[in-house]
Symmetry: C2
Amino acid sequence: MDTKVVPNIVVGRLPLYLRTLQLMTQEGRRVTSSQELGERLGISAAQIRKDLSQFGEFGKQGTGYNIDYLTEQLRQILHINKVWDVAIVGIGDVGHALARYQGFSNRGFKIALLFDNDPQKVGTKAGDFTILSIADLVRIIQEAQVQIAMLSVPVDQAQNVSNLLVEAGVKSILNYAPINITVPQDVNVQYIDPVLHLQKMTYYLE
Amino acid sequence: MDTKVVPNIVVGRLPLYLRTLQLMTQEGRRVTSSQELGERLGISAAQIRKDLSQFGEFGKQGTGYNIDYLTEQLRQILHINKVWDVAIVGIGDVGHALARYQGFSNRGFKIALLFDNDPQKVGTKAGDFTILSIADLVRIIQEAQVQIAMLSVPVDQAQNVSNLLVEAGVKSILNYAPINITVPQDVNVQYIDPVLHLQKMTYYLE
């Protein structure tokens, strides 16, 4: 095994390649090329070849990539050749939408636990799940050994709840609250805030 | 006015700076520094100073940044010193959550139009809005001169609907459908796919 550290930005493109390969499979395709992947993604073919070469040899000059094989390799590299349980904390509109989101299946994740601190919500159902109390979050997540959480609580609760998630052993947090949170170095945080994306685009509008 | 082109990646950090400044204002703060901004965001102070220097002089060595002033300058640079109308197309769970999302206000955007193609949904309400038919999308968006849309339709409709948005004059699309779409060069697309973020993080999990 190669022990060199692959840059974050390269790792970040692999899920895009995988998503495109999975769509190609659904289209009945068997073989693709770095050129075609690049055209679909707006990334240069050279960049894609360079990214993939960090992990091994997945295609041959002139014959392209076998889609099934490259898909399976990327699933192994990204550790999604298994299904990860995910907790959702904060079951407002966004949490509800995530609990019912159909896009996780076949991509490595399944919703396993829902938490909220509203007594009106705790004990009720959202999608297929009963909403649990945040008061029990640390114990329940520890017991279930869930390592991934999506955080959709209000801004003023985001840091406190993420502290609980860290205490419970969660190592990956996808934060929908529009605030940066502080976590230990061994915990990974990613952010989704639609307004940041919209503001990036209005820069280019008059 | 400076006419040099600012790199996308720099533009992309400005909304993060603005979001942090707005939170500081809510905390009753008046002055900050590149050091403090950097600590909150996990970005180096030098990077922040360099990014901001592309747009002007916003602080003085030793005295830091006036938060109100820098906020207002960033809002002007990002063209959100006005409120932009936004259309949402596809009113499933994600579209519903977006229609009811409280996080747009005071950040430059307001939801103005909702569209779906399900006859069961057209004419009903979602949040404060009546859902309109995608059959009427081009005409209605043209008349309303809406330039920004969020796309939350199924994968197999994303390209077709984005073609309609482009025809209607939309210049900025925030695409929640997990597929890359093709648009003319003068149209900007941003993507939100939670699974891409989760897969980036499982790479680092065992």
